[in-house]
Amino acid sequence: MVETILPIGPQHPALKEPVNFKVIVDGETIVGLELDVSYTHRGIEKAAEQRDFIRVVPLLERVCGICSHAHAQAFCTGIEEVMQLEVPPRAQYIRTIVAELERMHSHILWLGVAAHEVGFNTLFMWTWRDRETTQDILEEMTGNRMNYGINEVGGVRRDLTAGQISSILSRLPKLEEQIGKYVGMVKGEETMLLRFRGIGKLSKAEALKYGTVGPTARASGVDYDIRRDDPYIAYSEIPWKVVTDTNGDVYGRTLVRIRELQESLGIIRYCLEHLPEGPIGVQAPKVAPKAEIFSRYEAPRGELVHFMRTNGTDRVERLDIRTPTLANWTSVTVSLVNQHIADIPVIVAAIDPCLSCTSRITILNEQGREKARMTLEQLSEYGRKYSRERGRC
């Protein structure tokens, strides 16, 4: 059969941020993938070299809207190690609470998007309603729903009052109950089982070979979690478990994320109940000595790395950021091969890429002449219809 190139994007329907895929298909089956992620290059690494340590933290929060705390924290952890700062435990606990709330809102958001991709909009609406709880808590704690601005080198910028702590604790049981319902839905609802099971399968050996990170890797039985392997902020003091699964498909990735929600909730509760007394920050020096630091962080999507070199001035000589999504692309390329076009949205969404909405795809024939055009909403709809007709949904 003739192989056809199917361009998808640059505006992707599943999540935020644009990417362009050139999917090579043979009939209904995918045989290859080529991608272009150039659309949102903003030169942040270069800009970070021109700013001092106070001004660079807000910049790094804006690398990603969802994992804004992750980037600020990975940078602060690194610079604090270079400066040999002893950050007060209260600040570390508050950072942990924000980090886990961020993980929760990211995973809940993902679950909603994944449900939407398979046409299960009830769960989509439920999750996004429940996500407001985490957003409200974050807003009360930091003043912002996104780009929290709570971190700085040496500590945090806002303290928690006793009233806030009890108010947050009182809202957790309801959230816990809802997460329990998601577990039941994902394990029991035919709509989800039929579209998630056996789709985008990645074996443990493949996950290791292609450098997969985060929930995608843990769903294939690779138990890498930086929070345990290379503990930062307060994780070494808190009881929690690394979540893994052996399914290795979209179903497994969903289970891992939901069980991580439960773990995160436990961490937040522990931190609030055991919040140490004391100051929330130390004065950081203006300059950092000459050093090289490799700072690792478990972001909601997987291992995030900030490699930085300081040179005795008030700014970094080089900051090299490796985001989890970049690490996961290699495995997406692999897990899409031999799958159906109809499953593209759900497989791509399953790594939870930082990518985006409302787009069109252009179907080209082998000479590259435009034949037809469909929006990605239509592709999702096509996916649902295809599955219905094949009796998978």
């Binding site: 272009d36 150039s38 290791l208 450098g211 490699f307 090299d320």
Partner: protein, 159 residues
Amino acid sequence: MSGPLPLEDVKKALERFGPVEQVRFNRIKVKTVPENVREALFHAQALLACDRLIQISALDNGQSFELIYHLTGPHRMVIAIAIELPRDRPEMHTTSDILPPAGIYERQIYDLFGIVFTGHPNLKRIILSEDWPRDEFPMRKDWKPKPRTPRGGARQEAP
């Protein structure tokens, strides 16, 4: 997850390639020359169970380019293999055949630093927009931002 890797084991496996240094309790750095990288990666994989490439960091220190391959494995230590490349001839053999994730990182470095990875199966532009000049590499230290030259996106037609 296995126990941490003792410095002696790393020395035994990688010392022939260059000086081995423990920079932090779970970070070990080996300095070597570009010709030895592939062999060092093979040794790290076979003898130290480093089955995972975390990142290839690239730097421009003014005199030369530096590449640092960060590896990890079940021991959860980070083994860094560092090399320097001359500025006038930035070329390096690809490692994407040994470590598949290296492919996408090398494309990124090629785009931002202009380091050519010979033998790479698909060394194409990935980060910068398609109209970016071929001879400008923004992460090099001698490149200065040009705020008034728009790149990428739709152009406004002259009225």
